[in-house]
Amino acid sequence: MLYREAGQFKTSYQKDQAIFPIRQDRIAVWALLLAVFIAVPLLADDYWLGSIITPLLVLSLAAIGLNILTGYAGQLSLGTAGFMAVGAFAAYNLNIRVPELPLIVDFLLAGVFAAMVGMVFGLPSLRIKGFYLAVATLAAQFFIEWVFTHVGWFTNYSSSGVISAPPMHILGMTIDTAVEKYLLTLSVVAVLALGAKNMVRSRIGRSWMAVRDKDISAEVIGVPLLSTKLSAFGISSFYCGVAGALWTYCYLGTVEPAAFDLNRSFQVLFMIIIGGVGSILGSFLGAGFIVLLPILLNNIAAMIGHGTLQADTMANLEHIIFGGLIIFFLIVEPHGLARLWQIAKEKLRLWPFPY
């Protein structure tokens, strides 16, 4: 079937407001959901599920969080990993100290704690913008890392400073295998991604974008700047916090504060730059790109090089390609892969008659 809207007249605002107004898109989304919930667990092996796809999903969630703050509300942040750490350590401490709470509640509360910390570090955003705000969030990043490294209570006085996630139980089921962890991660990420998509197309999302695009007009329309920016910090950090908890429980199992260092913040920032600043879809595309590109490069090198390429050459090559792509996207296509995808769809809508 050709991809177009012809003949699909929107008879009501309700239909026009639908999340995927074009029928082909709706079909594609259902197909995708079936694939990721059913086909992927059946086809992928434990290595792919546990070491590639699950972390990819978790990082997508963190990227959604950062995209809410930076892409939608226009507040540049380098504290992403710090807020993930808050979520990780909050979930762990809730889990071991208040064992009565269901695990999902731990995860949600972990997000809430991260949200509160995020809002505190978001307070300077009323006065400072851009580069200076980035520096302030950098301070948050270092401060949070320092606290979790140096205050023993948070790691339950583990001598190595490492926390180990206790076994997971949800509704009497034990979440243990790679498939189970993948499905848990996928469910959480799918629900939260839908929530984010809904928020950005509602009043709160419009208020974020208004503050991003022209804060003086936003204020004159009645959008209070401080509480709008804080809501972006809070909700963004909630997403990062839940991502941190999943990172610990569903991916690594044991975690030290260094897993949430500045490099991680930059990694997530690059994801949204490549995937698309101000796009929920772009958060997934960017995470996918950054997680999968090294694997792809390795495979290509193995195919053509047969061991002639040294491992460190590969690592350098990877850095060069990333650097080049980031510069490319910053200069040529600031809206990233998501925008390229949109352009492709617009072309497809006209195909095969371009005029």
Partner: protein, 262 residues
């Protein structure tokens, strides 16, 4: 101009407003009344303090002296988002749209203060939030019809030509259903045809919804045509205030515009 409107009581009173930036005196002792349902124009040479006056009225600037009384409530310093809630809307001299958003989203943002659902409902979207979105979409669609911009409602505003952007900015202000609408040079940089359209929109808004309008405009022809009253500023002082014909004949005003030395 239709005679249907009844110009009512004073809705906005500015009393002895003085505003300075460092050493620059932008406004000196300005007192102005605006009556309900009227169209009032503020004119004056460049740098006279016209935009500053609007900024004082909707709380962007806080004057060092004087008070603003709106609907009987007297204040000096108020945040712009609070004046918005009281029914004051505004457009800017330099277009201040939300560049990354579509026309419809820009106008929907104008409904901000009227929407009530919290973010949890919004994250869920369906149910009460969808109902609210649709209700407000309907109001915005009426604004879109009124301004005849149906064909561009989904276009990102950054892609529109200047004249249309000005129109969208008016739409965003109208979406708030304001009682008092402040327009800072709504016709600047437009061609004759666009100006005529804009005049018609302004008069229609005033006529159909009874909105009180304060506008700044340099085109004297337009000012004489559409305003009930004209206030003239020069070097931060008010030099005249009255019906258009009277102001046009005022010697101080003629001097100010011809640049007679002070």
């Amino acid at each position: 101009m239709s005679g249907k409107r009844n110009i009512g009581d004073v809705i906005l009173r500015c009393d002895n407003i003085s505003l300075s930036f460092g050493g620059v005196r932008a406004l000196t002792n300005i007192s102005v009344d605006v009556r309900e349902h009227e169209v009032m124009a503020i004119i004056g040479p460049n740098g006279a303090g016209k935009s500053s006056m609007l900024n004082v009225i909707n709380g962007v600037y806080h004057p060092q002296e004087g008070t603003v009384t709106y609907r009987g409530q007297t204040r000096r310093a108020m945040k712009p988002h609070e004046t918005a809630r009281q029914g004051i809307a505004r457009t800017f001299q330099n277009i201040a749209l939300f560049k990354g958003m579509s026309v419809l989203d820009n106008i929907m943002t104008g409904r901000y203060t009227k929407m009530k659902r919290n973010f949890l409902w919004q994250a869920l979207y369906w149910g009460p939030n969808l109902k609210e979105e649709i209700e407000h979409r309907e109001v915005c669609e009426r604004v879109i019809d009124f301004l005849q911009i149906e064909n561009i409602r989904k276009t990102p505003v950054g892609r529109l030509p200047y004249g249309l952007q000005k129109r969208v900015e008016l739409g965003r202000a109208l979406a708030a259903e304001p009682d008092l609408l402040l327009l800072d040079e709504p016709m600047a940089g437009m061609n004759v045809e666009e100006k005529e359209d804009m005049c018609r929109f302004i008069l229609d808004v005033n006529d159909e919804f009874g909105t009180t309008i304060v506008l700044i405009e340099h085109d004297m022809g337009v000012v004489m045509d559409i305003s009930d009253r004209v206030a003239v500023l020069d070097y931060g002082k008010k030099i005249a205030d009255g019906p258009p014909e009277e102001v046009r004949a005022n010697q101080d005003v003629i001097d100010a515009y011809l640049g007679v030395a002070h």
